[in-house]
Amino acid sequence: MKRIITSLICIFAFSSGVQANAKSDNLIKPPGFADAIETLALANTGNSELSQPKIESEKNNSQSTLISSIKSLDELAGQLITADYVTKKEIIRNIATLKDSRALPFIESILQGELFYIKKSDQLVYRQLLDNKKYLAVSALNGSELGEFKKRKLKKIGINNNLRGEMKTIIATLKITSTDPILREHAALEILKGANENTLTLIDLAISKETDSSINEILMTAQAIIHLKSVDPLKRIDAIKSLEDSLYVESRNALMLFINENKLNNSETSKEEITYAQETVNGIDKLVTLNNVAENIYFGVSLGSVLLLAAIGLAITFGVMGVINMAHGEMIMLGAYTTFVIQQLMPNHAGLSLIVAIPAAFLVSGLMGVLIERTVIRHLYGRPLETLLATFGISLVLQQAVRSIFGPLNQDVLTPSWMAGTFTVNAGLELTFNRLYIIIFSLLVLATLAVVLKKTLFGLQMRAVTMNRPMASSMGIRTGWVDALTFGLGSGIAGIAGVALSQLTNVGPNLGQAYIIDSFMVVVFGGVGNLWGTLVGAMSLGIANKVFEPMAGAVLAKIIVLVAIILFIQKRPRGLFALKGRAVED
């Protein structure tokens, strides 16, 4: 009977507990799906706490006196096993005040649910899954191995959402005093997320000690967000002022909350404050839009760079030889596979292998290009449509060859560590390094190519053949060799594009197919025989794609761009930077 009543109370308390949890969560951040699941799970285990409020508070009193007298981590930690949630909070707070280097990882392990205790001996441990499905228990306090245990012999130190939020802040406070600025920044962001009245003193203290300006900015933002709720109107105004141009999501959320809460309040001062706050929000929104535009352009330029790399070889061969190489995509694919193979050959040097892959891919694809030119294209000279078909056939053969050798599945190409990571422009805009590298890389390739075409004898001969083949031939230029080398050069650059692409997408037999139509569009749009045309074409296409994407979705954006090019070519059938005059029309 007693049990039934208790469980009834439990149910009631449970539902109200969820509400309370949800509410406190809302102040911090909107709960995601995972959070929601956690909330439920924690609320379930949290029944006992909420169902016995009275007994608990008594216990709490008695235990807190007990805690205050104990000063070592080992002893405090031991209390965790039997303590209820409120006591646990107290214990953890106390642990945090200890000047013990083990405190931070210890609290973090509780937060991550990694701290267990052995049921029999009440020892706090971390566990490791062994091959025999048992767990190895390692003492959480001194790292000694305590033997193997079955899963149910170890029990987790439970936490609830309330405790979780508290621990995050506690961890942040611990980290904010760290000597590592990166750790401090993370801590500051964590504090910003959970900014509330309780953390204000802590923040004030941190600000006074902080030397790094960007970390200080985060802390000041957190401070301002808390001050928004202050009773002092001057503080509130100051807070709004310091939130101007602040790009943290929390700032805007806090301002919106502030506006909504004070709209009910009709006093003169709050009206002014609301207008001011609204203006600030508008300002932030403008900045956010600007950020989005900047980000889209960045994505667009990086896509443009990829297209540039993919299309530039195509433009060269088309410009010089009037040949559309349908196997160009496969040259890209060969470059990507070359990267893969080289990485397999030097497995421990992801970064170095990437650099070695650049000339290797150029050679592999370039030689393949020369081979194709000498064996097939040479015989189809002056028949561009037949060349298109023959090279398409070659593309099928190459695809199948790669599929037969490497298998139909995508291969894993590693990204070296120096290509990972992001570059922070402001709080709302982070740019990934790999894209930045590819932008720089493609521009380097373009510049190198421009120099080759302008300054070398081969470049001169190539340009001569482009402009007037019979004349170049009669001046002793071996046009056949120029053709072969041009085709090799175009294909080689495609190989280099493959190296770049291996860092962005999956390396598989169909890699080339994905980029070939876009490359054609670049050439058609930019015009042939002109590097600038290819550059402008690639960038316009890349940016256009990425600008339409947020509005229409990726697929529709692509369709829009394709249709736009089909319409564009009506106006300028030979592209943006077309050669004019009599010579071209034949």
Partner: protein, 259 residues
């Protein structure tokens, strides 16, 4: 000069170019060119390479749009027409026929079919689909074949003709179009002396009821045509007059021999 009596529109020119300029990427192919062809006139045009002869023809036939200037054509019924407003096919159908520098016949069709395609009328898609060759039309083609001395080759592919024969076939196609104005680019190229003279005779016959503009390098041929000569240089008219007077012109001599 063999000036035939104008059939219509006395003294009004059949072709009138004024201040025509064309440039390609900064290069001035035609520079303020003015030219006037009277109805029934035969005019020879000479000039060094790059003087703008072919570009001039391109402008008249609607292939190239001039940057500035007027190009007027005096049509039998429609009177003054601004040729820059029409495309190649429309200009051809208005009665301006053109023969190219390189003989361009349709090589995969027979000589007969080439002439059939050139024959006046029936340019619409539907007309072409439903086209039947009447005896009258067959006869006309037969006549043209005789005129260009290719009656034995009627069923041969045009590709199998000699260079000179191709030139003749193209002239025959031009005649079949029944144009009012003929623009002829280097008709004598690749012909034997005998053929050249025969061509000149043919043109003189044609000039009786057509207007002709002939571009040529062969001075003997031009002498045989015996008509007014215009010298082009760097896209504009350098001199105009009889062949004899032009040949004495110091500027013309400078241009041809180099200063």
């Amino acid at each position: 000069m063999s000036l035939a009596i104008p059939k219509h529109l006395e003294n009004a020119p059949i072709l009138y170019l004024d201040g025509v300029s064309v440039s390609f990427d900064g290069f001035k192919a035609l520079n303020n060119l003015s030219l006037c062809i009277e109805p029934g006139e035969m005019r020879a045009i000479i000039g060094p390479n790059g003087a703008g002869k072919t570009t001039m023809m391109d402008v008249i036939t609607g292939k190239t749009r001039p940057d500035t200037g007027t190009v007027l054509f005096n049509h039998k019924e429609l009177n003054e027409l601004d040729l820059t407003q029409y495309d190649e096919a429309e200009v051809a159908n208005l009665g301006v026929g053109r023969k190219f520098q390189k003989p361009s016949v349709i090589e995969t069709l027979t000589v007969f079919e080439n002439l059939e395609l050139a024959q006046k009328g029936g340019r619409g898609v539907w007309q072409a689909l439903m086209h039947t060759l009447t005896n009258e039309k067959k006869q006309k083609i037969q006549n043209t074949l005789e005129l260009i001395a290719l009656q034995d080759k009627a069923q041969d592919l045009a590709a199998n003709l000699s260079h000179g024969q191709k030139q003749w076939l193209e002239i025959g196609m031009l005649i079949s179009q029944e144009p009012e104005l003929l623009l002829i680019d280097e008709p004598a190229a690749g012909m034997t002396d005998e053929e050249t003279m025969k061509t000149a005779e043919l043109f003189k016959t044609l000039a009786k009821n057509h207007s002709l503009v002939v571009v040529e390098h062969d001075m003997d041929f031009i002498a045989a045509l015996d008509c007014k000569v215009t010298v082009l240089n760097e896209g504009s008219v350098l001199a105009e007059g009889s062949l004899a007077s032009v040949q004495k012109n110091q500027q013309v001599i400078d241009v041809y021999l180099g200063r």
